[in-house]
């Protein structure tokens, strides 16, 4: 929709071009959330496309995803065969409510910075132990893991004017086996729960990531492959009813009911 309060568009090619941050500024990535709701508090859009960052680079150490990388680019990306967990890329992208046409515009950074429980790129990058590089307004870049980046529904650690530059997925995580389950109240709809896990080839380092069911991603790490009961108890301990998210896409009670069920399915698949 038209954002009729916008009076200025900046197209910087570096952080310095932006100048001093003030209220009313907003970074514009794909624009797929920004243009989907009125943004009456915003008067200036700062386009990140003009930064010209390389979307994806695969190295020995892992995958470097620019914040401005489009979902469609990640979908089309051909990963090295050793990265078994890259199967999650398609799984998570398909878990979005958004259509494939929105993938052409929406960015990975935009999705993480939106910090919605149903942010499937949060699910993906959190499960794959991603680390974000953030560029504060002043001061040196800092690194924060994706799990810690998101602090709640539509809440994260970004400070005033701070920019997300990239997300790094370590090769060690990408090399693990992985599985994912999602549930929605409608067919192919918005996630009520999206649960993932990765595990090392030898069954150690089982890392369960609960997303969508909770306001922020929750991770449970098991050095040895957990039994059904161990997994269930760990989840129950970590996630009481009030730790679950409640909205029109699923009640907290439903999410509490469904999360251990999905986790157990994943456990069984990876066993």
């Amino acid at each position: 929709m038209n954002l009729n309060t916008i009076t200025e568009l900046k197209r910087p090619s570096s952080l310095a071009d932006i100048g001093v941050w003030r209220d009313g500024y907003s970074f514009l990535a794909g624009g797929t959330w920004l243009f989907s709701e009125p943004q009456v508090a915003v008067d200036t859009l700062i386009d990140l496309e003009s930064m010209g960052w390389t979307s994806l680079s695969a190295t020995e150490s892992g995958l470097e995803i620019a914040a401005t990388c489009r979902v469609a680019e990640l979908h089309a990306f051909v990963t090295p065969p050793a990265w078994q967990a890259a199967s999650l890329f398609h799984d998570c992208i398909n878990a979005f409510l958004m259509s494939f046409k929105i993938w052409n515009a929406a960015t990975i950074g935009g999705n993480i910075c939106m910090s919605l429980p149903a942010g499937a790129m949060i699910s993906l990058t959190a499960a794959l132990e991603g680390v974000c590089t953030l560029w504060p307004q002043n001061g040196p870049p800092r690194e924060v893991s994706v799990v810690d980046f998101v602090t709640g529904d539509h809440q994260n650690v970004l400070q005033h004017g701070e920019l997300m530059r990239s997300i790094h997925l370590p090769a060690s995580a990408l090399a693990k086996r992985a599985a994912m389950r999602q549930v929605s109240l409608t067919q192919l709809g918005r996630s009520a729960a999206l649960v993932l896990a990765t595990v090392a080839e030898d069954g150690s380092d089982f890392l369960l990531t609960v997303t969508a069911a909770t306001p922020r991603p929750i991770q449970l790490r098991f050095t040895a492959f957990p039994t059904t009961d161990e997994l269930r108890h760990a989840l129950d301990r970590r996630l009481p009813l009030d730790a679950y998210f409640q909205d029109v896409h699923g009640s907290a009670a439903y999410r509490q009911h469904i999360t251990p069920y999905l986790a157990e399915q994943i456990r069984a698949e990876l066993a």
């Binding site: 929709m1 989907s36 515009a105 409608t186």
Partner: protein
């Protein structure tokens, strides 16, 4: 200047910095780009940027700079249709057509993998009309149409006459015109459910550049009216004003701002300073009926005391005695949800003063004549000075049987003497347009051991919201056909329509009957289970038959009568098809439970209140015909049906009949296209007019040639008088020479009303842990008389059944404790997508009606009614649990499923 290449044409233009590509393209008069949501959910705005598909409402316009942009208008590069347009044509993969451009622009980009996985590929494209069946057909190359051959019009699956305009983006929906000197109107809506406005400071708003005027309750005529549109305005309470000093629901209009741009009008709304005195609010109709509940309306506006707008009660026979005779009794309270129509084209109107010194209102309405009368009354101007019309309407479903956008634009245009436009947002549709009435229905029903129903007692509480339009009519419908569908000597009922501080409810496909059908059809099943009788047998034993009294809880003589009777056949079809199966097995695993259910619905074809329609026909100089009928085409296919009725009588092709509809200047009067009257009333008028046209032609031909009338006959484009053939154009010329005009006008009235039936069968699987429901087999049988156009009839049923599934399984308008809707976006308040919509096998009973025109009955509405109860019955059959309250979303089912297993 930025440079845009749009469909091969270059534009040098500078969009606003926050403008989206959708609205920028429309500002270049590229109107094929539609708005269904403006938020990325519906896909109606899909365009290609350098060959890739995007939702243009989400794309900042500046990103199109230097790119090649293709819209539906530019898809057929060489002038030849794109194969996808041809496929949509052949499959008739649209009804109102509002989604078609976006569907096509999306589908043409599909890879083979996407074509093989349409549920995913079509995630971002919503269609409210078709149930996606015909869209699926288009994507599989199915042809659903037959050729237009003279003499074969009746019962032929002919293409919608506006197909090429719709599929090329040339069709002009309400907002698809450029008007010079246009002003834009926006309203500020109430954040409170109940408040008195104690002050509005408009100075800040008026100082915003571009703002031309601000209107509040102080400026408008103090005339009470109802936004509901009916033939008789007295069936709805006059309980609202253009702008009021009391707001009674969150979303009610507080003030209107008119400005040079939409942006300025919005800024003006934000700048208004309104002081409210908050009043206590009530949302639950049962609470609202209690003494001491907050009162919504001054007493003299009401036909009854307190918040009860209307009570309907009656008893036939002796219900107490009937229960005494019963072997088994079932008693349960059922409830249904409010729902939004989500016609893809939002409400909107444009008004201006014409060179003829009259006011013209271009609008998206199901009832332009009723709107004209009402507007004339509210504005205090003669109706003859007012022209209300539609061009293409993007869906209605009852939501446009309501005067909610015409009034303010007309008011502003009269005040300002400039054209004024107002286009609603999707959010406004959710919070401020009408919804289906939420109803709670208590049913008590008893039967003898053999299944014979001995007594029925039904109690309905309907939440009519802040205003009472349609409140009594829907309640009347709720207390009528679903109860009358069963033969029983002893019936009793009471229903209340109650004011609350909720969004006002209104007419919605199924109109009150859907709600009670939901309750009664489940009660019938429960009773059958108690008695150990098969649900089909239970219905066969008790459903009304010719010879029975068609009566609910009153014994007054009724004009409903059987012009035909196809319920037996419908039940047989559904039973047979479910037994035969469709080869789709339930998902693997012990967590999936399977069950099947059936429900029926009866429809009296037309409202019990007045309804009339007129049609006019002329022979044109070139020997073709002109037909004018007041009915609205909104995807219901009524123009095709009307042309076919006329073509059948006149033995010609539908292409040789041009049609104009829903226009108070250019067509005869029509009450409005609602209550399933397009065929049985409008169609009857057309039928009579076409017969009169033929009689007129033959009589003139006989006089002109001196050949006896019984020797003259019409043959497509000519008359034969004896052996002499005169083409219709020659005949016309001969007539003109002696001032014979070849024009006729006929009127039709609705009475008696015939009876139609629909039966829905569902086999489904329930996942007992996740609560997910998968429909495995969906069968629908309709007793709608002779289908004038089988393809269209099937399409109406596909769409109605899909809406039924949406209501049962998906749609959920959620409000907080303060009466605010929590999810007024399609993203959060879902309607069925392709993935959600099961394929339904549709069958027609082989009935020819003795009352309806050419054997036809109503068919646009009733398909929805049996769906939700059939789903509920199937869930009960699968799980052993009765879920009596809509919607059946997994998070509302899981707890009882878990406790049960």
């Amino acid at each position: 200047m930025s440079r845009y290449d749009v469909n091969g044409r270059l534009y040098a233009a500078e969009p606003q910095p926050g403008e989206c590509l959708r609205s920028f393209l429309r500002s270049l008069d590229v109107f094929g780009v539609k708005k269904g949501c403006d938020a990325g959910d519906c896909g109606a705005c899909t365009v290609h940027i350098d060959g890739k598909p995007f939702h243009s409402c989400l794309v900042p316009a500046f990103r199109g700079d230097g790119c090649k942009i293709t819209t539906i208008e530019g898809l057929a590069e060489t002038g030849e249709w794109h194969p996808m347009q041809k496929a949509f044509h052949d499959a008739q993969a649209f009804q109102c057509g509002f989604c078609a451009a976006g569907m096509i622009m999306t589908a043409v980009t599909f890879t083979d993998a996407q074509r093989a996985d349409l549920p995913h590929a079509l995630k971002g494209n919503l269609c409210r009309c078709t149930g996606y069946r015909s869209i699926n057909d288009a994507l599989h190359g199915t042809c659903n149409i037959e050729p237009d051959v003279a003499g074969n019009a009746l019962g032929a699956s002919l293409a919608n006459p506006f197909t090429s305009e719709i599929l090329t983006g040339r069709a002009r929906y309400t907002m698809d015109i450029a008007v010079a000197n246009l002003l834009h109107l926006k309203v500020l809506r109430s954040p409170h459910a109940h408040a008195r406005i104690t002050g509005i400071d408009r100075s800040q708003a008026l100082s915003i550049p571009g703002v031309v005027a601000v209107y509040t309750w102080e400026d408008v005529p103090k005339r009470l009216f109802s936004s509901a549109l009916h033939e008789d305005h007295l069936v709805d309470p006059d309980d609202m004003m253009l702008l009021d000093d009391v707001v009674r629901f969150v979303g009610q209009r507080v003030a209107a701002v008119v400005a040079e741009t939409e942006a300025a009008a919005e800024a003006g709304c934000r700048a208004l300073e309104v002081e409210y005195e908050i009043l206590p609010a009530v949302f639950d109709p049962v609470v609202a009926m209690q003494p001491g509940a907050p009162q919504l309306h001054a007493k003299d506006h009401l036909s009854n005391s307190g918040n009860i707008f209307c009570t309907l009660a009656g008893e036939i026979g002796d219900v107490a005695q009937g229960f005494a005779e019963a072997f088994a009794i079932h008693e349960q309270t059922y409830s249904t949800t409010r729902a939004q129509h989500v016609h893809l084209e939002t409400h909107g109107s444009i008004a201006w003063k014409g060179a003829d010194n009259r006011w013209h209102v271009r609008t998206s309405s199901q009832a332009p004549f009723a709107a004209q009368k009402k507007l004339a009354y509210v504005m205090g101007i003669p109706a003859r000075d007012l022209h209300v019309f539609t061009e293409r309407v993007g869906g209605g479903f009852g939501g446009k049987q309501e005067m909610v956008s015409e009034d303010l634009v007309l008011f502003a245009t009269i005040k300002l003497n400039r054209p004024v436009s107002w286009e609603w947002t999707r959010e406004e549709e959710f919070i401020a347009a009408t919804t289906r009435h939420q109803m709670t229905t208590k049913v008590k029903i008893g039967a003898r051991k053999d299944g014979t129903i001995t007594a029925m007692d039904v109690e309905v509480v309907s939440n009519t919201g802040a205003y009472g339009g349609h409140g009594s009519e829907t309640l009347g419908a709720a207390m009528a056909s679903p109860i009358a569908a069963y033969r029983c000597k002893n019936k009793k009922g009471i229903g209340h329509a109650v004011y609350t501080n909720m969004t006002p409810a209104g007419g919605f496909r199924g109109y009150g009957a859907s709600q009670t059908t939901f309750a009664i059809e489940q009660a019938i099943d429960e009773l059958a289970v108690l008695l150990g009788i098969d649900p089909f047998a239970m219905r066969r034993r008790n459903v009304v038959m010719p010879g029975d009294n068609i009566e609910s809880i009153w014994q007054e003589p009724s004009d409903a009568s059987f012009g035909s009777h196809g319920i037996d056949e419908c039940l047989d079809i559904v039973e047979r098809e479910l037994a035969k199966g469709n080869g789709i097995v339930k998902p693997e695993g012990a967590d999936w439970l399977e069950g099947q259910g059936v429900a029926l619905a009866m429809l009296e074809c037309g409202p019990p209140t007045e309804h009339r329609s007129g049609a006019e026909m002329r022979l044109l100089p070139n020997g073709t015909y002109h037909l004018a009928c007041g009915s609205t085409e909104m995807g219901n296919g009524i123009t095709t049906a009307h042309k076919q009725i006329a073509a059948h009588i006149l033995g010609t092709r539908i292409e040789d009949i041009d049609i104009i509809n829903a226009d108070t200047d250019r067509t005869p009067y029509d009450t409005g296209t609602f209550a399933s009257t397009g065929t049985v009333v409008g169609g009857k008028a057309v039928h009579l007019a076409a017969e009169a046209m033929m009689a007129d032609i033959l009589a003139f031909a006989s006089r002109h040639t001196g050949v006896a009338l019984d020797q003259c006959r019409l043959d497509n484009d000519a008359v034969f008088c004896g052996n002499r053939r005169l083409s219709l154009s020659e005949l016309h010329a001969a007539g003109t020479a002696v001032d014979h005009r070849f024009s006729v006008n006929r009127r039709a009235y609705l009475s008696p009303r015939t009876i139609a039936f629909n039966v829905q069968g569902v086999r489904l699987a329930v996942q007992r842990v996740t609560g997910e429901i998968r429909v495995l087999h969906s069968v629908h049988a309709a007793d709608i008389g002779k289908p004038i156009n089988p393809m269209q009839c099937r399409g109406q049923l596909d769409g109605a059944v899909a809406m039924g599934y949406g209501w049962a399984l998906i749609e959920n308008m959620v409000h907080d404790d303060a009466g605010r809707m929590v999810n007024p976006q399609l993203r959060n308040c879902r309607i069925p997508s392709f993935a959600d919509t099961p394929h339904t096998d549709v069958f027609f009973a082989n009935t020819i009606d003795a009352i309806g025109p050419l054997g036809a009955k109503s068919q646009g509405e009733c398909g929805i009614n049996p769906v939700a109860p059939a789903v509920a019955n199937a869930i009960a059959n699968a799980t052993g649990l009765r879920f009596a309250h809509l919607p059946f979303t997994p998070d509302r089912l899981f707890a009882r499923l878990a406790a049960h297993s």
